[in-house]
Symmetry: C2
Amino acid sequence: MITIYGMRTSGNCYKLQLLLDQLGRDYRWIDVDSAHGETRTTEFLARNPNGKVPLLELEDGRRLAESNAILCHLAEGTALWPDDAWLRAQTLQWLFFEQYSHEPYIAVARFIHLFLAADHPRRAELPALIERGMRTLAVMEQHLAEHEWFVGGRYGIADIALYAYTHCAAEGGFELQAFPHIRRWLESVRQQPGYTPMQYPSGM
Amino acid sequence: MITIYGMRTSGNCYKLQLLLDQLGRDYRWIDVDSAHGETRTTEFLARNPNGKVPLLELEDGRRLAESNAILCHLAEGTALWPDDAWLRAQTLQWLFFEQYSHEPYIAVARFIHLFLAADHPRRAELPALIERGMRTLAVMEQHLAEHEWFVGGRYGIADIALYAYTHCAAEGGFELQAFPHIRRWLESVRQQPGYTPMQYPSGM
């Protein structure tokens, strides 16, 4: 059985929970709390020298890092990864968009809101993060105004990757009221067979 | 013939020049100066709503953004993109590593050094960028101490993507003296058939 090392409240980790639950695949989940240094221990760095979750470990010990690379690998051969070369290229385009233009603003603003103290100096970063993140949401809104899903007219891993931090963007201070197409798309993702929500520890 | 919209001194754009030159493919290159706002014009935003170069345009008008997605698409069916599923997954892992853990520190420090005035307030970001970028270079050094290339024992697009901003890291203030394996690997990339250097305008 495959193993995922991950933190349940991390959108990057949740992507893999969502994919695997939707594929109905068995997996073992080992909690690693990156918000409290557990990805920087000697033991974890031996597994992933870049010190990040999620991390996929196969039964034979081979390991793969980077949430979106893991998504691609686990989705190969399923309906969530296109057969067509151009649709695969577009999927990768949105996956790189997610890691470069979305996660660094929307996930980071959420991290500051949820995990750092009310008087933490990093709260000064929030206005710039909100401004850049809103620009990214506008790019998604424009695309979803003309397309039901991100790629090829059907649900796939580009939707999973972008859903992960968009559905909880309000926790970072992002107001989705102005983005009706994004809200319609979020609801459509929740209607997909096998959908499971992100898990929050009690008290959060 | 395919068209690349790009800025010659951008590492993200240079990746495509290097790949296409090494594949011996014909292409048209249209200069778009992202450092001076040319990716934010109405005309360019109609081509790429995310306002970034590089951008690939096919002869029939279809377009693809995100440098590493373009690398994957153009390398499909060549020796630079692996046939094996696990090697493809590892290639994607390093491509996402490059965009998330490398480019935001090493390319951004270089941009501040090369393109912003000596008294620009963003120069205050440099110490943190250097510290995070050096940590990324240490991850690469550790990998290259045990592997000739990034994936599968042969040169491929993971090497091209990581070469783009590593070979000019000194322009961002990164000292490569402490990374002998990275320096050996950079030299090996330069020895590959069809290699062409990044182009700098006169005066730079």
